[in-house]
């Protein structure tokens, strides 16, 4: 499977869930949003974005709906499900624990 190289394993799911928690978006908008909020630091290739979205959908964390975009094209909008919200909470908590621990270690080695 295509994996974004510079993303920690599993964090793409977290990012996508977080972005969709804010508002329902279609794939293109998600890719733009990813780029803009991470300031180009987090590179997610287009190739890995859609399989990841599909996986989340199949897991039941997000759900998709076909709607009109602002310039009148049909697009698939993803939004978070109740299950996805729970998943986001637990993944976010996990991430915070992990990153806190890592930054703790990193600071130790510097002083």
């Amino acid at each position: 499977m295509s994996k974004p190289n510079d993303l920690v394993q599993g964090t793409l799911d977290l990012l996508l869930l977080k972005i969709l928690a804010l508002e329902p978006l279609h794939g293109w908008a998600i890719s733009l949003r990813l780029k803009s909020i991470s300031g180009d630091v987090l590179q997610v290739t287009d190739g890995s974005l859609y399989p990841a979205l599909h996986k989340l959908e199949q897991e039941g964390w997000i759900t998709a709906e076909w709607k009109q975009t602002e310039n009148n094209r049909r697009a698939k909008f993803y939004s978070l499900t109740r299950l996805g919200r729970k998943q986001l909470q637990s993944e976010a908590a996990n991430w915070q624990r992990l990153s806190a621990a890592i930054s703790h270690v990193v600071q130790l080695s510097e002083t």
Binding site: D46, Q58, K76, L83
Partner: protein, 901 residues
């Protein structure tokens, strides 16, 4: 959490499966949407449309790969793959139609035979009681020292009910073989099967009547008070045409009025194996139906006629309840030592009851089951061999697939799908075979006076077994070829159609095929041995001598209790009946017996102590089978008296008690003395002395192939019985005696029905010819099918081996090998394999024969004759199977062979 998860994902999966095309389109549309934006972005950044498009596609990293990845996300690819594989397999199999047909027939025979035998085994052993939670229903049984089990008496039942805590309820049932039923007064009673049950019977079993009610618990408390009856479902349908107003109606049973209170549900076919009670009455009405008039059902603790069953309380295990009942049995022995010496009690599960040692049928069926599975195994090895050969010719295809990146697992799955399709077709054929076989079992007309139900049927359970067998055989015959053919190394696989030429792999593959040949030969030898033993065992028995004369004999069954005769009146009736029958024109001789030999009835057992015989310390008495007969029996049945005399009219109730024993008995207990004049004492050392006045020839009593057994005859006058069979020996056709006999009976009592008239040959034909005949046919068919399958498999494998070595043979001939050398080369290998298979088959065959002889037949020792015939026949057949292809190989012209690809 998991369920909630499914709630969200299940609709998606369903959608992917059912609306696959639409999902695909949406996938395209979504990705296209993204690409369009990306291209626009590129153009806005100053790229040419074409360059922008290329950049966009590059960023996607391969559109098709992404799509495939997303399809995989849906977790349904295994299903779509399966559908693809299956349709590929069907196309493939269609192309090789002949081979497919052969495999399907092969598997069908194997699966069908196994399923048919399973239906027998299921009916006799496995099918659970037709009640809710059947696994918690156990049987409580009395046990004696020789491990046989028996029933309880009414008093004992009450004590068990009051003295145990392991159960939610303890029930008792007493099957009644002949109950006179008439729908109203004035109609002639018909003989029916009834059952006396405790008041809690239906409640404890959890059986809800479909009409009316079951019994109340108090309805079995006062003797003779509640004359109520619950009808069995079949009886209600046939006798009352499913009339719903039957509840409340009066019917006459053995001459007394009973009120119908309910109808048992259709699902409740009774707790007995071979008979379905037509109606149920409370135990308290037992006196009306008593079969042992000498005994008092409600008082005598040794009038043991009741099958006691119970529903285990939740949380109580069988061993726990077993120890409880054992303690109770010790109490019985303490309180009533004379009636309970050496008697214990145990709790048996349904399985234990069905497979107990003294029930014989399941042993036969188990052997049939082993043989049927052997046929299936031969069929599977056969098919495995064929698939293996075929997989070999597909080596190149498989190598190409592997080279193109197909996973090995995926390929194995594809090949297994193919064998699954084959096995499913085989399973369908198998269902047809099973259906035919079960129909064949049912063609057996059992000449019993009461309808006997064969519990064999093609039901859901059998079909399920059929399905399971199909899947198992798919794996059994598909896995090895699939594993082997996907192991081929690519280079040689791509280079040549003959992957075997790569020596290392070739040897391993050959080894697998050799194992198949050996397995087939030994398996078919096993089958042939078994069918020889069974056939010979039965045939021995079917042929005379039986020790009696079976033609020109008419049987007529009577039960004067149907018209409320008491004991004295019954005795008087039989005395007069025999006297008058004897003087009827056309009758040469007439006799009465409780059970004619081979007449399907269960013989009573007599407990006795022979005088002058050292009784082992731990035994109270011996038991032997017995029959009650009158003075005319030995002449009428043609059983010879070897020493002493038969019974006479002077052996009356008040005369000295006498008995006739058979020769086996005489030799057993008085090996060095004349049995005539010896005494046996009934029941115990201090029991009534009975003088042996004659020794009769040993005949076959229960089964025509039984071992010689001890047997005692007691005179009817001294051992009164209610149900008797009249034997009339005629000079002409015995059926011509039916009308004169009816006149005789009518002259004695107009109302007394004759329960059954039948020629003895009918009975004999069933018990000694047709009954065993079903077994013979079954086993013979298995033997023949096994042999044919094994031979065709062997032929196929050898022929395939030869064709694969055509080039090698050509080279050998080209450099000077003669036809004889080629024959030796090709056949030698086959013969070694056949030899090995024969040796293994012989070992197993001998073991099987031992087992079968020990369990079933009186033929002791090893049956040399069978092997003298079978082994050479098998060898000859297998030699032929190798010779034909070998000869063809020897004839090949070298030039042709070398070009052969």
């Amino acid at each position: 959490m998991r369920i909630e998860h499914w709630w969200f994902t299940a609709p998606l999966r369903l959608k992917s499966i059912l609306r696959g095309r639409r999902v695909e389109r949406e996938l395209d549309e979504e990705l296209q949407f993204h690409l369009d934006h990306k291209i626009e972005e590129g153009i806005a950044a100053g790229l040419s449309p074409r360059a922008a498009r290329e950049a966009a596609l590059r960023a996607m990293g391969g559109l098709e790969q992404r799509k495939e990845e997303m399809r995989d996300m849906r977790h349904i690819h295994w299903l779509t793959d399966f559908v693809d594989d299956a349709s590929y397999a069907i196309r493939n199999l269609h192309r090789t139609f002949g081979l497919t047909a052969f495999v399907v027939i092969t598997l069908g025979l194997g699966i069908g035979m196994s399923a048919a035998v399973f239906s027998m085994l299921d009916g006799l052993v496995f099918r659970p009681y037709p009640v809710p939670q059947p696994g918690r229903v156990v049987t409580l049984a009395g046990t004696s020292r020789d491990k046989s089990i028996d029933d309880f008496s009414y008093r004992e039942y009450l004590d068990i009910r009051g003295g145990t805590t392991s159960y939610d309820g303890v029930i008792a049932g007493g099957p009644l073989q002949g109950v006179g039923f008439s729908a109203g007064p004035g109609t002639t009673p018909q003989v029916r099967v009834g059952m006396l049950v405790s008041g809690n019977y239906f409640r404890v079993l959890g059986v809800e009547p479909q009409l009316g009610r079951g019994f109340r618990d108090d309805e079995d408390e006062v003797a003779g008070r509640d004359a109520v009856v619950v009808l069995g479902p079949d009886f209600w349908k046939h006798e009352f045409a499913s009339d719903r107003s039957v509840v409340g109606r009066m019917v006459r049973l053995n001459g007394a009025d009973f009120t119908v209170v309910g109808v048992a549900p259709d699902t409740f076919t009774g707790m007995e194996l071979f008979q379905r009670p037509d109606f149920y009455m409370p135990l308290a009405m037992a006196r009306r139906f008593s079969t042992a008039p000498q005994k008092n059902f409600f008082e005598d603790r040794d009038d043991r006629e009741l099958t006691v069953m119970a529903r285990l309380r939740a949380g109580v295990s069988v061993p726990q309840s077993r120890s409880e009942i054992a303690v109770l049995a010790q109490r019985f022995e303490r309180e009533y030592p004379a009636l309970n010496r050496e008697r214990g009690a145990s709790v048996l599960t349904q399985f234990e009851i069905r497979t107990r040692a003294d029930a014989g049928e399941w042993k036969f069926i188990s052997i049939f089951a082993v043989l049927a599975l052997a046929v299936l195994l031969v069929a599977c090895t056969n098919v495995a061999g064929l698939l293996l050969s075929r997989a070999q010719t597909r080596t190149r295809e498989i190598a190409v697939r592997l080279a193109l990146g197909a996973g090995r697992f995926r390929l194995i799955r594809m090949l297994l799908t193919e064998s699954l399709v084959l096995a499913s077709l085989g399973g369908l054929a198998g269902a047809a075979v099973a259906y035919g076989a079960i129909r064949f079992f049912h063609t057996l007309a059992i000449p019993a006076e009461l309808p006997t139900t064969l519990p064999f049927q093609l039901d859901r359970r059998v079909l399920l077994a059929n399905l399971a067998l199909s899947v198992l055989s798919a794996i059994a015959c598909g896995l090895a070829p699939a594993l082997q053919s996907t192991r081929a190394d690519l280079v040689s696989g791509l280079k040549s159609t003959e992957a075997d030429s790569a020596s290392g792999i070739g040897r391993r593959q050959l080894w697998g095929r050799n194992v198949l040949v050996v397995a087939q030969v030994s398996m078919s030898l096993l089958l042939l041995t078994a069918s020889a033993v069974v056939t010979r065992g039965f045939h021995n028995s079917v042929a005379p001598p039986t020790g009696f004369v079976k033609d020109h004999l008419l049987l007529a069954r009577f039960d004067p209790r149907l018209v409320q005769y008491d004991r004295a009146k019954t005795q008087q009736f039989y005395k007069l009946l025999a006297e008058r029958a004897r003087t009827t024109p056309g009758v040469q001789s007439a006799g009465l017996t409780l059970n004619p030999p081979l007449g399907l009835g269960a013989f009573d057992r007599l407990a006795f102590v022979p005088d002058g015989f050292q009784l082992p310390r731990d035994r109270e008495n011996f038991t032997a089978m017995m029959d009650t007969v009158d003075e005319g029996f030995f002449t009428a049945m043609g059983v010879r008296i070897l020493r002493g005399r038969g019974f006479r009219a002077s052996d009356a109730a008040d005369a000295r008690r006498v008995a006739v024993v058979n020769e086996q008995f005489a030799r057993h207990y008085w090996p060095n003395a004349d049995a005539v004049g010896q005494h046996i004492r009934l029941d115990s050392r201090t029991g009534t002395p009975v003088e042996v006045i004659g020794v009769a020839e040993t005949i076959t009593y229960r089964q025509s192939f039984e071992k010689p057994r001890d047997f005692v005859y007691l005179p009817l006058a001294q051992h009164p019985q209610a149900r008797m069979v009249l034997l009339l020996r005629s000079s002409g056709d015995p059926r011509q005696l039916i009308e004169p006999l009816k006149d005789v009976v009518r002259a004695l009592d107009v109302n007394l029905p004759i329960s059954e008239t039948r020629t003895y040959e009918d009975v004999y034909r069933y018990s000694a010819v047709e009954g065993p005949g079903v077994g013979i046919h079954l086993v013979e068919t298995m033997g023949v099918v096994g042999l044919v399958l094994a031979l065709s498999g062997l032929y196929g494998l050898v022929a395939y081996n030869v064709s694969r070595r055509t080039r090698e043979i050509g080279i050998r001939i080209a450099i000077g090998a003669g036809p004889a050398d080629v024959l030796r080369l090709v056949m030698g290998k086959g013969l070694v394999l056949v030899g090995a298979g024969t040796a293994i088959g012989l070992v197993f065959g001998l073991a099987l024969e031992r087992v079968m002889n020990a369990i079933l037949f009186n033929a002791g020792g090893v049956d040399i004759l069978a092997y003298v015939v079978i082994v050479p026949a098998l060898l000859l057949a297998t030699v032929l199977a190798t010779y034909v292809p070998a000869r063809r190989a020897a004839k090949i012209a070298p030039t042709q062979a070398l070009r052969y690809e």
